[in-house]
């Protein structure tokens, strides 16, 4: 799993400063990757199955509502990286923000993929986003 997340997050280059590379590869990348996947899945489940099925809300199923959750997911993914960097006490560097941006992009991607896979089971949003 470490190598999988290392592959994902090193697409923008190796961590900076180089001295912190082991911390990123062994702790930060798996943490932010798993959190990103977990939070994306949770938001998709909340949108499709909690709001648009269990709660019986049928007017929160438009593309704009789905997009709101998508952006929220990306924002959380960005914040998670900043929080993890501080929690693991890595050196403050602009790399952290590039990594956060990349994680946000992955957040968008995960949210979209989970939506495509899970939307059919929803009552009121089974045709959202398309």
């Amino acid at each position: 799993m470490q190598s999988f997340f290392r592959f994902l997050y090193e697409l923008i280059g190796t961590p900076q400063p180089p001295a912190d590379t082991p911390v990123y590869r062994q702790i930060v990348f798996p943490n932010i990757g798993l959190l990103n996947l977990g939070i994306s899945l949770a938001l998709v489940l909340i949108f499709y199955y909690v709001i648009n099925k269990a709660m019986g809300v049928a007017t929160f199923n438009k593309l704009r509502h789905w997009t709101l959750f998508l952006v929220l997911n990306a924002l959380i993914a960005f914040i998670v990286v900043v929080w993890q960097a501080k929690a693991q006490q890595v050196t403050d560097h602009s790399y952290i923000y590039w990594l956060a941006t990349l994680n946000a992009v992955y957040g968008l991607l995960f949210y979209f993929l989970f939506s495509v896979i899970l939307r059919k089971g929803s009552t009121n949003a089974s045709t959202t986003p398309f």
Binding site: G56, A58, N61, N124, A125, S126, T127
Partner: protein
Amino acid sequence: MAKLFLFGIGGTGSRVIRSLTMLLAAGVELPNCDRVVPIIIDPDAHNGDMNRTVALLQSYQQIYKKLGPREEGFFKTDISTLSGISQDVNGSVKDTFIFDFGGINQSFRQYLSYDGLSVDSKGLVDLLFTQDNLESPLTIGFRGSPNVGSIVLNKLVESPEIRFFADNFQEGDRVFFVSSIFGGTGAAGFPLMLKNLKDTNTRLSNARYLRDAPTGAVTVMPYFALQSEDNSVIDSNSFLTKTKAALSYYEHNLQGLNALYYLADTPDTPYENQPGGTQQRNKAHLIELLAALSIVDFMKYSAAELRTGGPHFHEYGLATDAPEVQFNHLPDESRELMAKHLTQLLYFTRYHRQFLATDKAPYHDNLKLDYALRNEPIFRELQNILHSPEFGVDEWLKELGQNRRAFRPFDLATDDFNAMIAGKPVEKKWTDFFNKGINHNYFLDSLNKTEKTIAEPDNFKKLIELFYDVTDKAFEEKVKVV
């Protein structure tokens, strides 16, 4: 396949058929019959009431043809033209709901060939008919003169339509007459038609089936008045006198009838006095709806019940005498028969008007409604039958509420589904935060859920079934009883 041949005679006949069509559109069950064949008998070819009833029937027919037979639902009962009941039409009968008088473009004097009559015959005619009767053009009907109507309508039995009707009459079929007793066409036409169909010496085919057929009628006695006008040929002050005269005739001369329903009301606001033509277009009235219910009631009896101890006479009384009748003013039987169905139809009509075109929801996408509502003719027909300002459901419900006595079971001014049934708002408990009763969200959720359970490939059929199920659920879950 048992048929009900429904003769709607005169303006009242047309208006009652209009109400019956609305009940059938709402899904009211008509037992013991697979098909209704309305035959409107009115020589006034431009009568406004008749023409919009015909437009409604045509629209209903289009929709039924698309939907086909089903166990239950909106537009459940087949309505057919007379020529539509058989493949073997041979061109003699037009594909229409109206009896073809062939355009009687003459006065009653010309119709009788008065000028060619012998002196004795002229004397008899002068005794039976006024000068005004003789000069009256038949193009606008008989203008409240049954003595004129009885002459003209007696020829109906020789028409291709009645022969075609008899040729296709089968065992198990029934006949029902709708007429008023205080006018011209209905008062004359009903006993004549009955006499001719039940005549033991008739030359019509299937005479035995016709004679034995369960036969009912609703006779509408005065329920409206007309504004008094010096020059008008119809004077509503004579309605009661004419009713008494006709009743005394009916007392001894209605042979072969199994059930007779009487309806009447005390007139309040007088209608505009229009003897006929396009201007004769009266607002729908509760009496007409009750007359339509008498047809449903008649169909509930088995043939054996109708033949035993008859004729059966029925009258109708409201549970409570109210100037604005709501569901709780109706007797239990009537309320149970139509309250739920009419509420379902209202919910469907309202949702169709307010939300259907703009909904963004899975049911909408799966039914491809964006395209269908704009391009498919059957969806436009549905739009017509629900919202046409001439003959649509909206207009019918509105008119019922505007008449006196008014039938106002719904608050048509509100957009709140919870408040639509007058005097019976949907209860929302303050402890149940998420229970908002019946609203757009409730319907959407229900539509989306139910749509997945209906395995119907045709999107129009599916839409109608879907809305019937959803409005049925809304009534059962939220309204429960009225």
